[in-house]
């Protein structure tokens, strides 16, 4: 058992991390070794010095900087979302007038771009060749259209 080994045990011991089987031999060695006794004292002195050493306090400027970064990023991300969903407010009468004009305009313009589909005339022969259900539906449709 060397002093280096015992001192590594001491280092673990002060952290409550020494295996049980090493505790006895460590104390037995400490009883007669001044070097290791001084190492234990030094380790405990360092710990006690740290305990009395005040923590550095974060400066006020740090909070300002952090919150500015955080809230600025938050504002930017909300602004991007809002830009994608732009809302335009229009008075109701104006909106109704625009809708009516759109409908009339589409009725006026559409014949210029689309040909009326030709009327399809079915001969009576053709109609009689259709299945009964379809014939019935066609006759009903003709009646409705005539009305």
């Amino acid at each position: 058992m060397t002093c280096t080994e015992v001192q590594s045990w001491i280092s673990n011991y002060v952290d409550d991390a020494l295996e049980e089987e090493h505790v006895g031999p460590m104390f037995a060695h400490l009883g007669s070794c001044l070097d290791c006794q001084r190492f234990l004292q030094s380790t405990l002195k360092i710990r006690s010095s740290v305990n009395t050493d005040a923590k550095f306090a974060a400066p006020e400027s740090l909070q300002v900087r952090v919150m500015k970064s955080v809230e600025g990023a938050d504002y930017d991300s909300r602004r991007r979302v809002d830009m994608l969903s732009i809302r335009i407010s229009i008075p109701l009468p104006a909106a109704m007038a625009m809708a009516v004009m759109l409908v009339i305009g589409s009725m006026v313009i559409s014949p210029l771009f689309f040909e009326r589909p030709p009327r399809v005339q079915f001969s009576e022969n053709t109609i009689e060749q259709l299945p009964t259900s379809l014939r019935t539906q066609l006759k009903i449709t003709r009646i409705l259209l005539a009305e």
């Binding site: 190492f39 030094s42 380790t43 306090a57 909070q63 955080v70």
Partner: protein, 185 residues
Amino acid sequence: MQADDQEVLIRRVQSGDTEAFRQLYGSYKDQVYDYCRRLLNNAEDAEDAAQEAFVRIYQNISTLDHPASFRYWLYTIVRNEVFGRIRLRSGHQMESLRDDEERVWIDETPHDKSVRSETTELVRMMIGKLKPEYREVILLREYEGMSYVEIAAITGNTESSVKSRLFKARRALFEMLETIYGEKE
């Protein structure tokens, strides 16, 4: 802050509540700044690192599945920020620790004969002169009271490596104290 209160606060931050983040910041600001300050040995760098770390925490907190592990997750982020700056500042390469690694000081051993200050200041000065890898384990163990397992998780090392670094750091501090107090006598 109680664990349950902290969990509620974290959930609020995850839903975008910046006021909740302000409270969370308030709970950890001194710990984080102190850690940065002691590792970087510079107030300005420490403030920069702490700011970046807190902003990253806010931006990535939605990825934290277990609020109970927030403290260790926070220190991992802060550590990455600090060591990134250390590497940039000095070109310091994080050395893999070998069993025969003996160099624990940044450069020359801090044998300053003019230091006649209180032990606390002396110890603080000496710890500040340790290499970052050794300084860090001393800070997390002695200043933050973390266990070996916790330190291993934050630093990305094994528990065995943490024990070894702690021992070597304490050994180096012991030898320096012996030299200084030996010469005083």
